[in-house]
Structure formats: structure tokens, C-alpha cells
């Protein structure tokens, strides 16, 4: 057992890190559900390409923007609602559309509708000059010394996160591994429920750039990626369901060797 692996707790347990969270009831299942439920959801989806091309261009950056949202904004209007809130954050942070610009435009649109409806009495006579508050956590400061080293990889032909690594993988299929809690706050793809729990490498995936680094603009620091299988009893204890394995894909730098089973 590596030191502290068992005792440690995640540096951050973000609103998005939902695996195993309690308090949720039946899944709102509809086998014939369409991809969009309202016109605004269509428009949000259609804008993704333009927004990310002008703001979050690095792998993991858009996801991290969603993870930084206020929980209300994360949950209130579902998946496309959090995309929209994430768009507003990124466009503001990158200076493409400031949050004051957006507020002003919405007020103009409202006034135009009221004017057309003959309800000029409802148009506010005093226009607020205050900048709307930011409802988002800032990008966490990261110490690059706590990230794995960067290493040169051949430039891929198409835009992709996959990379060829010269160094061989550190772990093999069948190895017992354990992921300690992240050393610092910020973006990670390590789900909280897997932290500190021993699992077994089931398969190797293609190597990828490390989102924990790229989302923070700290280079690719590419990693081998492992599919790690966790027995449900290891994750959830005695009341776990029988005959169940949960597989999580983890970047090499998350993992340490764990003692083998017996």
C-alpha cells in the first residue's frame, strides 16, 4: 500500500464528480427521447464549434469550464443549460463577449419587445451600469512541478488527443494499481469514487495528452492510458451488488503499483 493512499481525500470534489453520489432517484428514462427538447437547446448545440474555436481550444478546457460553474448553473437547465453557462464564462474570460455586453443586449431585446407590445411602462427608466457578478470558480493555480514531465511525441496528422509514446507503459494487464487523491486542485479525469481503491489493469488504451495539464495550458505531458477494473465490493463495501466490475480509464500519472491480491 503506498503511503497515504488510503487516508487521503480528493483535493477537490467538484459538482460534476457524480459517480456514487447519494440522494438520486429513478433515471428519467425515455427510450424514444429526441436529442433536443426545445429550440434553445438546438441553438446552444449549434454554437459549440464557434465558441470553442474562439475560446477553449485545448483538450479538457471546455469540460473544466463546466466543472467550475456554480452548482445552480451546472444543474438548473440540464446538459445544454450547463453548456450555455460554460459558453458565457469562456466568452467572458477570453474577452470575446463580455458578461456586461450580454446583459446589455438582453436588456435591449427585452425593451424592444416591450415597445412592440405597447408596454413602455414596463421598460426600466434607470439602466443598471453594474457589471453582472461572475458565477464561476477561477481556473485553479497549478504547480507544474506536481505534473508529470512533458515529453516529445510525433505530431499527429489530424487534430486528435492520441499520441505515440516512445517510453513503454509502466504497467501491464493484470497489474494491481491504485490512484491516490490528486495532489492539487484543478481539472482531472480521476473520478472521486476510484481514489484510494485498488484495481486491476484490464487493458491499455492509446496514449493521450494529459487533460489535467492541457486544460491548464501547461503542455501535453502525454500519458499511457489504462482501463482499470474495480470489483464493486472494493468500491462500495459489503452492500455492493454481486458480480459487478466498474472499469475506469486512467492516465498513467494517476497510478501507483498496489499490492497484488493475496
Amino acid at each position: 500500500m503506498p503511503p497515504d493512499a488510503e487516508e487521503s481525500t480528493p483535493a477537490t470534489h467538484g459538482v460534476h464528480d457524480l459517480g456514487g453520489a447519494s440522494g438520486y432517484g429513478p433515471v428519467p428514462h425515455d427510450p424514444d427521447e429526441p436529442p433536443f427538447h426545445a429550440d434553445w437547446e438546438r441553438r446552444v448545440f449549434g454554437l459549440l464549434g464557434a465558441v470553442t474555436a474562439s475560446t477553449a481550444r485545448r483538450p479538457g478546457e471546455f469540460r473544466y469550464a463546466l466543472e467550475r460553474l456554480h452548482p445552480d448553473d451546472y444543474f438548473k437547465n440540464g446538459y445544454f443549460g450547463r453548456w450555455l453557462a460554460g459558453f458565457e464564462v469562456l466568452l467572458d474570460e477570453y474577452g470575446v463577449v463580455g458578461r456586461s455586453d450580454l446583459a446589455r443586449r438582453m436588456a435591449e431585446m427585452r425593451d424592444a419587445v416591450l415597445l412592440e407590445a405597447g408596454r413602455t411602462d414596463l421598460i426600466p427608466s434607470v439602466v443598471s451600469k453594474a457589471t453582472p457578478a461572475r458565477r464561476v470558480s477561477p481556473v485553479a493555480d497549478r504547480d507544474p512541478a506536481l505534473l508529470p514531465r512533458d515529453r516529445p511525441t510525433p505530431t499527429p496528422q489530424r487534430r486528435t488527443v492520441r499520441r505515440e509514446l516512445a517510453d513503454p507503459p509502466r504497467f501491464n494487464v493484470g497489474d494491481r494499481v491504485i490512484a491516490p487523491a490528486p495532489a492539487q486542485a484543478g481539472h482531472t479525469r480521476l473520478p472521486g469514487y476510484a481514489v484510494g481503491k485498488p484495481g486491476t489493469v484490464a487493458k491499455l488504451h492509446p496514449a493521450e495528452v494529459l487533460p489535467d495539464s492541457t486544460a491548464h495550458d501547461m503542455g501535453e505531458r502525454s500519458q499511457h492510458v489504462y482501463c482499470v477494473g474495480y470489483d464493486a465490493r472494493t468500491l462500495w463495501g459489503d452492500d455492493a451488488e454481486p458480480n459487478t466490475t466498474v472499469h475506469v480509464d486512467l492516465y498513467e500519472c494517476y497510478l501507483q503499483a498496489a499490492p497484488s491480491e493475496d
Partner: protein, 215 residues
């Protein structure tokens, strides 16, 4: 479906928290500033509403049912097969196909966000993106599956795949009995979106009698 946000209705314009008015304002500003293009927005929506959807994955599954050598290659190297079939697009940098079989069932989730093989299944349904599914599918997957209408035997091995890297998963459901000799086009009708996520079995062929012909 509760689509009562009529585009541009006065009601929406009274409420600054309405996503309809926020996205309208944002889209207008981005178009005016040359960041976004309305035709491209419309084309993207159109593509994901009509051209990209579960029928692409269903075709892959039906072909694998009909052709054992394709099935073997698909399970071994899905990326190569998907490329051969000319499937392109977002969210399929690396695909793995997980085959159900006697005593083995697979189901896919993304607990950290809502990763999903867009180019094979289209955009994910809301329930897949719901906190209920994301929270519970790793903690009590058999209970969730049972609520969704799929009861597994206790001795069936259940494999849950949490999509935490850029690998995307698709479940290859078991081919239903009574479909021997069916052509690929007819088999695809049995392959539902739910069955490729792993929350259902493939459709029962007895419910698909229209146009049936004995072989």
C-alpha cells in the same frame, strides 16, 4: 416533451434567466462579431437531428451479427472497421466494442460529464446525461437497470464502463433468437439505442413482424 419556448415569444423576453433569451442574445452578438455563422449553426443542428444517430451504430451491430469475421475484427480493432465503413465525426477518437453474451452484460456511463460515441449514436438522450444515471450506474447498476426494465440474473457478470478518457464504448447486444437468415437491413431494426448503451436487450423479433418473410 415540453417545448413551450416559442422562438421569440414575448414571454421569454421578460425573463433574463430564460435560456432562450440568453442564447438568442449570445448568438446575435457572436454573429455580429464574425465569430459564428448562422448557416453553419443551422447545418450542424440539421446534421445531428437527421443524419447522425443510432442508425449508424445499429448498422455496425447488425453487420457484426451477420458476419462472424467482422464481429471478431470489430471486437479486436473497432477503429479500423469504423474507418473502413467510412464513419467519421466527433467523439470517436478510439472506439471499443463490448460484446454481451451468455452470462456477461455490459453497460456504458460517463460519471464525470456525458461522454458518448456521437458519430455512432448521435447526441446522447437526456436520461444518459442525468445526474441520476451518472451517480447511480456505478453504485447500484443492477437496481438502475431493473428500474429501466432490464433484469439481470445475479450470476450474470456485469461490466460497467465509465468513459473517463477519450475512449468511447459501444455495447454489442446479443443477437435475438429467431432471426436466423435475416438480412442486415432487417436486423438493424432490432438494434435500439438503449441496447447499444447497455440498458436494454435488442428488440424482440416477435414485435417486428411487419414485412417478415420466412426463411
Amino acid at each position: 416533451m415540453h417545448d413551450d419556448h416559442g422562438h421569440g415569444s414575448a414571454h421569454d423576453h421578460y425573463d433574463a434567466s430564460s435560456p432562450q433569451i440568453r442564447i438568442e442574445a449570445l448568438e446575435d452578438l457572436l454573429v455580429e462579431r464574425g465569430i459564428a455563422d448562422r448557416e453553419r449553426i443551422d447545418a450542424t443542428i440539421e446534421r445531428f437531428e437527421h443524419d447522425i444517430g443510432p442508425m449508424i451504430g445499429a448498422d455496425l451491430v447488425a453487420r457484426a451479427w451477420a458476419d462472424p469475421s467482422l464481429r471478431t475484427r470489430l471486437l479486436d480493432d473497432a477503429d479500423a472497421v469504423v474507418a473502413e465503413l467510412g464513419v467519421r465525426g466527433a467523439e470517436i477518437e478510439h472506439i471499443e466494442i463490448k460484446a454481451n453474451g451468455p452470462g456477461v452484460h455490459n453497460v456504458v456511463v460517463c460519471t464525470l460529464c456525458s461522454c458518448y460515441p456521437w458519430a455512432l449514436l448521435g447526441l446522447p438522450p437526456n436520461w444518459y446525461k442525468s445526474p441520476e444515471y451518472r451517480a447511480r450506474m456505478v453504485r447500484e447498476p443492477r437496481a438502475v437497470l431493473s428500474e429501466m426494465g432490464l433484469d439481470l440474473e445475479p450470476d450474470t457478470e456485469l461490466r460497467v464502463w465509465d468513459s473517463s478518457s477519450e475512449t468511447r464504448f459501444l455495447v454489442l447486444p446479443e443477437r435475438p433468437a429467431g432471426t436466423e437468415g435475416w438480412p442486415v437491413e432487417r436486423l438493424t431494426e432490432l438494434v435500439t439505442r438503449d441496447s447499444m448503451i447497455g440498458v436494454a436487450r435488442a428488440a424482440d423479433p416477435r414485435g417486428q413482424q411487419s414485412g417478415a418473410h420466412e426463411h
